[in-house]
Amino acid sequence: MDTIQFLMNGFAEALQWHNLVFAFVGVLIGTAVGVLPGIGPMSGVALLIPVTASLTAGQEPESAAASAIILLAGVYYGAMYGGSTTSILLNTPGESSSVVTALDGYQLARQGRAGSALAIAAIGSFVAGIVALVGLVALAQPLSAVALSFGPAEYFSLMLLGLCAVSGLAGKSMTKALLMTVLGLLLATIGIDSVSGVARFTYGIPVLYSGLEFLTIAVGLFALGEVFKTILERENGGGTIAKVGRILPTRQDLKDSGGPILRGSILGFFIGILPGAGATLASFFSYIMEKKISKHPKKFGHGAIEGVAAPESANNGASGGALIPLLTLGIPGSGTTAILMGALIMYNVQPGPLLFTDHPTIAWGLIASMFIGNLMLLVLNMPLVKVFAKIIDTPAKYLLPIIIAISIFGVYAVQYTTFDLLLLIGCGVVGYFLSKHDFPIAPLVLAIVLGPMIETNMRRALTISNGDFMIFLQKPVSVLFLAIAMLWMVVPLLLKSRGKNVIVSEEA
């Protein structure tokens, strides 16, 4: 019964007028971010952290954190929805989890059924959002109760598992992903050591004492990296936008997509919980599953409504599922959740098992706001889909320099140093070249967020054991996590060496 009571309190928080506005602004900007080619959910969320920080500046710390995370999560799942619009209308996915949607969505648009496809995508996303919400409510308390029994050794191994899972699936080369992870962990050691108070790698430079700011690096690598890519490669969108046409889906469309939406939502949710396996994999798997169980598999790729319903519900289900390890264990399973975690830490809120007892307003407020946000998305997108489709027409000439200006404003408004601005631009250049050559960026950002916690837990565990590393193998739960981490790394390598295709998550 406690859970219901907490959820009701969460709704009381989420239904406050300012939080309704935050949720609305979040899903609105999120949808726009998803629609605009060039900014994905990760860069969208990263860009908005400083903006939300200033928006919530006048509130109490607890309520400011709740409002900020409500807005940022809105951007996250709004972007998941928005990505489908360009997939369907332009055959250009706004973000990588909508790649599969383009296969059938664009075919439907060419047949003059873009409106139905967009509507089914909206309905699918809504249902998935609700399924994820129910899953979150059911699993949040028990999981955080289990996590509360973890000691530092178990936590260290769990975080290592999170890092291995993301690195194991990210990008085409595992070596490159691991390299990025270790680099992130190393960068995270710069600054004052939180345990001993010793300054590390600072060389007397004052700006380095507080360490490299996660926000600066994330905005630089993701947002500016993408902008530089578009400028250098002259990707200005192009293509012709299909007409939206009739928006309401037919009865047959609804009948055909009911099953795929439900299956996609549940599958997506469970894939989302797994660290490393992001929304892209979820949409991919659900598409394959629907094709396999369909009576007319040949329809797929030629404009099957199921081919839009399943992946769109799966990617939204996955974004809800990905919040579970973040909120209950404090382990972000993807790039975007790592950025959300960074935002929470900025507000002095530590995600993890204690979140639900220490900050119930934030945890349950967020969960309740997801229900409201999804409802807003549905109501907003059905009539406004034509308006959103127009966003695609925004000329790159104005959009790209404005994104650079927003990044610079955002970082400066939080950090107030020229050093951070230069670091931001540097990260943008590095981010472009790294991602161009298949060095995945998400593991680096994840490592920067998790680095300090991994180190603290490792040192706590080693202090308990008098410096004996065997402590990580003596605790059964810790061994289990380490074993899974090992498998996560070794299995894809084995599969690859046997010549099998290993699916990688490019979105992370």
């Binding site: 050691t189 001993s196 250098l232 790209l400 070249f433």
Partner: protein
């Protein structure tokens, strides 16, 4: 996959790893109340980074031969102009203030992206610079240098 780029990265990060390894040797070894000092973690990571770099360098020999895929012609001129403008923007933001630098950066970048429609560029740049400043400083009561120090 570019062989050369991967090799450059592996060498650069190897050097970085070695630097972290050496420098962590200079951090005091023990911390009060703990057997494990602040040097252990970066030291281990430095070694790991170096090992991974060796592995990546080795892997580059096994890369499939680079095919003559139609390489995208990169627009370096436009990129370098905008990058230069962004660097100037970042460095001049504090001394010149937000309004002037943002307006100048945007107008210049709009024109670099696509020449012409100067009035429209000026209007959008001004609307953005003043709009953001008004919202942030006027409405949200944030702090941002508006105009140059000598002007205020």
């Amino acid at each position: 996959m570019s062989k050369t780029f991967s090799r450059i990265v592996s060498i650069a990060l190897f050097v970085l790893g070695a630097a972290f390894l050496m420098e962590s040797g200079r951090i005091s070894e023990s911390a009060y109340g703990s057997n494990v000092g602040p040097n252990l973690f970066p030291m281990g990571l430095g070694i790991l980074l170096m090992l991974l770099c060796v592995r990546l360098f080795y892997e580059t020999f096994r890369y499939p031969k680079e095919e003559g895929e139609p390489s995208v012609k990169l627009d370096y001129k436009r990129f370098l102009m905008i990058l230069g403008a962004a660097l100037l923007y970042a460095m001049l933001l504090q001394p010149l203030g937000y309004l002037i630098t943002t307006f100048a950066f945007l107008t210049f970048s709009f024109q670099v992206m696509e020449k012409g429609k100067l009035w429209k560029s000026l209007a959008i740049a001004a609307a953005f610079a003043f709009g953001v400043y008004f919202l942030f400083v006027g409405v949200l009561e944030g702090s941002l240098p508006g105009l140059p120090v000598w002007f205020r």
